[in-house]
Symmetry: C2
Subunit: 624 residues, 2 copies
């Protein structure tokens, strides 16, 4: 493959202009063109290139040089750019179904340009649009058409001033009035105001509003989504009874207009209930298509996973950009040297390598994970839309939920810490706004918070693992899952009996060695967390307290280690598969080993502790 690439006039792979980085590039042990092709595939490279080329040559996307946009101007410009993206029609519906990965790549490309633009576009199309598509029925499809023609502009209103993570406590109400066949949407007080809703601040005309559904007689059937018109599409003036506004400046993503809204007895037609998972008849009777709670939950988890899987992708893009900036700077910035006369690039310092190269490896490993999990989610969503009600489909929903719930924390934190390290590694220059590390950090930051606070989300993953173990103990069900991420746990007593397999430094350079250690670590943390939970309950804690008191050092660590293991496992398999071009095996193997060893090294203290505990045989028996 190499001979046709090198020196090729293909615009997909233009040679880099000769500059200060040339000396380093010339020393590379591999062809970057070949690596790109292997990791992305030609189709995706061409697709990304087409998007970048369009944005590069469109003056609307020129970055105002040196100017400092006001909040209002930035939000206006961002809306104009969003509209232009529709005109380009980068992603047809056909494309989306034939090559779903293009959705992720499209988001990545827009995000590389500016996350305010990507979030504005995707909140309207994918979040608002998908909520209607996935939660609604045929009667709602007219909205979808209007989304893509931009006749309406949408937002997704779940979070309130006082409640975000605890969605059950959401307080906006929707009372059904059979006399007029309408729902009455109402915010009982300030704390129930919808809050943080992206696109709501300035531009949204319609919102999917989550509210507690009450039928006549006063029975509440829980949270349901409703389509509520909040502004006149022509004037953008609020609809009667709707108080809506912009939340003002945020730490980042300031091109996006996050907003708040309060509803004062706003009446909407009965048909505006998005009724896939629950409906109300004209006379006020509540109907649900689900009988089994776990099945219903599995189905609804899919849409939660979509947001989290998207955020994994967003985080990795930020990490990729930051690492590229910092490594290029480090290769050209010279400071100190063996003699007064000769200064060396700061990249040559062991300390600088130690700070930056693990994040380079993390960017590769997590990027692969991001794509593979996205494709898993596509499979799950296709099953759901195809009406698959199998047990495997439900289990797949739970497994992806567990992976997305810990994958988002791992990816967003890795990016957060990586960008900070990159900022500092560039010294003063990293603090200059035009060098972009600040924007990356600020735009990445909400990835740690929205679609579920990272620390709270980790609980979802540890609950999943502990639940599997409990079912194993109680009913004897095998520890296995559709994507096989938990299958190794079936052998957990044996794994805990194994010793570290590396006997030399060279051994550890094969990621299979840290991979085996990770399996041991996850088995250990799973057992310890399970024991701790039982112990808490035995000592009189109720379920709520017991779970809370098992987070620190136990369930939180378990969820993160399990997630890292999954990322390491997938990247190890990807970089060691037979299809890897021989000339890339060495560099990919090193990236895989570096990410695995670096991640594992943060658990060193636990590994030492575990070794001590495990060397006291019989301290605990398996089922106690």
């Amino acid at each position: 493959m190499v001979p046709t690439l090198e020196g090729s006039p293909d615009p997909l792979f233009p040679d880099f202009p000769r500059g200060p980085l040339h000396a380093y590039r010339a020393r590379a042990s591999f062809s970057w063109k070949e690596l790109s092709l292997f990791l992305e595939g030609e189709d995706m490279l061409r697709y990304k290139k087409s998007i970048f080329s369009a944005l590069e040559s469109d003056p609307l996307f020129a970055r105002p040089h040196g100017a400092h946009l006001s909040l209002e101007k930035y939000r206006e410009l961002n809306f104009l750019r969003c509209r232009r993206i529709f005109e380009y029609d980068f992603l047809s519906a056909e494309d989306m179904f034939r090559s779903p990965l293009k959705v992720l790549m499209f988001s990545n490309c827009l995000g590389m340009y500016d996350w305010s633009l990507a979030t504005k576009y995707f909140l309207h199309t994918m979040v608002f649009g998908s909520a209607i598509y996935n939660s609604g029925s045929e009667r709602h499809f007219e909205y979808i058409q209007k989304v893509f023609s931009m006749e309406i502009f949408g937002c997704f209103a779940l979070t309130e001033v006082s409640h975000g993570s605890n969605t059950k406590a959401i307080r906006t109400t929707a009372h059904y009035d059979p006399a007029t066949e309408e729902f009455i949407i109402h915010s009982p007080d300030f704390e129930a105001a919808k809050f943080w809703v992206g696109n709501m601040g300035k531009t949204a005309t319609h919102a999917v509003v989550f509210a507690q559904l009450y039928v006549p007689g006063g029975q509440c059937h829980g949270l349901h989504p409703f389509v509520v018109q909040i502004r006149d599409p022509k004037t953008l003036l609020p609809m009667p009874g709707v108080m809506v506004g912009d939340m003002g400046k945020k730490l980042g993503q300031n091109g996006l207009d996050n907003g708040f809204a309060m509803f004062h007895q706003v009446r909407i037609p009965r048909q505006n209930l998005l009724n896939r998972n629950g409906d109300v008849t004209p006379d006020g009777t509540y109907l649900s298509p689900f009988k089994d709670v776990r099945e219903r939950l599995g189905a609804s988890l899919g849409s939660l996973s979509l947001g989290r899987v998207s955020i994994i992708g967003m985080s990795i893009v930020n990490l990729q950009l930051a690492v590229s900036i910092a490594l290029r700077f480090s290769a050209t910035r010279r400071q100190f040297g063996p003699t007064q006369e000769e200064e060396i690039p700061v990249l040559e310092y062991q300390l600088q390598q130690w700070r930056l190269l693990p994040y380079l490896a993390a960017a590769y490993a997590l990027y692969h994970f991001s794509k593979s999990l996205f494709l898993d989610l596509v499979e799950q969503q296709q099953g759901l839309l195809g009406g698959d009600r199998s047990a495997r489909q439900a289990e797949l929903g739970h497994e992806i939920h567990a992976l997305a719930s810990a994958g988002k924390p791992l990816a967003s934190w890795t990016a957060q810490q990586g960008i900070q390290e990159c900022r500092e590694a560039c010294g003063g220059h990293g603090y200059l706004a035009m060098n972009r590390l600040g924007v990356l950090r600020d735009d990445n930051d909400p990835n740690c918070t929205y679609e579920g606070d990272n620390n709270v989300l980790l609980l979802q993953t540890s609950n999943y693992l502990l639940g599997l173990l409990a079912r194993r103990f109680q009913g004897g069900a095998r520890l296995q899952s559709p994507l096989r991420t938990v299958d190794f746990l079936e052998a957990y007593p044996d794994i805990l009996g194994q010793r570290f397999t590396g006997s030399s430094f060279a051994d550890c350079l094969d990621s299979a060695v840290p991979l085996a250690a990770y399996k041991w670590l996850v088995c250990y943390l799973l057992r310890e967390s399970y024991q701790k939970l039982i112990q808490e309950k035995r000592s009189g804690s109720n379920d709520f307290e017991a779970r809370n008191n098992c987070q620190v050092y136990y369930c939180r660590s378990l969820a993160l280690a399990f997630m890292e293991l999954t990322v390491v496992q997938r990247f190890h398999e990807h970089t060691h598969q037979p299809g890897v071009p021989p000339s890339l095996r060495a560099v990919l193997g090193r990236l895989s080993a570096l990410y695995a060893l670096w991640s594992l090294s943060r658990h060193t203290a636990v590994l030492y502790q575990a070794e001590r505990r495990c060397s006291c045989p019989g301290r605990r028996d398996r089922s106690s």
Copy 2:
């Protein structure tokens, strides 16, 4: 003391208005008024109150509510505020000498309001002013008067585009011309442009410029400071030959106008050389008052330490503010609970406590350290100005340099990580600009970089410790220092033979236990670093390479652990002294133990490794 405080109408201690935090405050085991008095002293409390009261009632200091200031407007407003601070005359020269701690408190108060203001003010008065006072002689004192009358406005120009950390490689030149008795200040190329200079962007009229001093014949005598007028004080137009401008938007501190300057053969009078540490006679002969290099170095380190000690104080203020915001929010924000009906404050969750409370303890421990190190520095500076040329004075300079060089990294990183944790712990609300956590993070960030990159600075401290050890081995000099921070090392072989002294959970709640473990850790890391350095040299590395290859896992860890130990030691002593009111002993003891244990816990992996190595007796002998 308590009875006179509670219910007192003294405006120093107004009771908090009854609000959502009341329930928590009522449960406190101590009186916050008593704690304030003990930690700050009545004089300092009154002094701080007087500053806050003045700013609170002055409309110039009102924060423009909801408005988004442009860069230009913010810089203009900041300059007007800076001028107003002069009018208030919060700190007389007499005050400064009688109660030097007021300088730190004054900086803290301004910084609590806005670091852009504090840095603008102090760069002019303390950095520019002190550089002239400390490096100049009587002939320069006219500048000092003009600093305080604001006839001139100053900046400190050391860093260049291509060199910051490596000050020896600074490339601006000052050639002496005996024909006209002038120095010719010149920037040979773009990379030699002065860069990042605070106040230089818009407002400075004069700069202390560091340049390589050349005498006739071409000999270079190294870096020296010169007073260079860069703008006309009336028009603010650049002086002939000076190209000066603003660097544009930064990640934070945008009220401060950081600038760049290039000099094209700018002639200044011979007298503008700040000549305390080196002078040139009219005919071009170079003179230096120092004979001993170590003595000269010790003297000049003092002014470097001033910047770093100030940054420690700045970082801690940021941490204090962030922790206060996050803890107050956590006490009032309710999410989830044991039942659907009852939600509990997020502060009640073990996880939230684990995330935030160590930073609360760190804020107290580091605040005490910041004040005590500031007073040590005052002592050293007074000795210097008093003409003390004793060996102790020189050693004191080196010790404070070591403490400031690792104290700045520890304080700025603790603040950086603490603010990020606080931001995330406040969820979405933490991401709203008005809640200030973003500003704190952005304004704190340069603390990790300026006055020496944190990672590079740590090398200064490890070099200090390794140098002491080498002198011990070579000449038998006792391991001791004026502030006694290193004296325990004299017993290091014995300390390494000791075992962990805590035998129960309760034992560890006395900070004496982690303190002892810290001494062990530092001795271990010192020995390991020393061995590693020798090993690197033996295997053929030159001095430069050997030092570089000892940073990761060795010297870097050594410097940080030594610094943490010093902070723990000082806070332990402060909280366990006989003068602590009995009613405060419990809470102060808990803060001391929490900070010590939390810091130490980050070294758990090293402690385990060390235990293994040390349990192989005779592996290494002491002097090898």
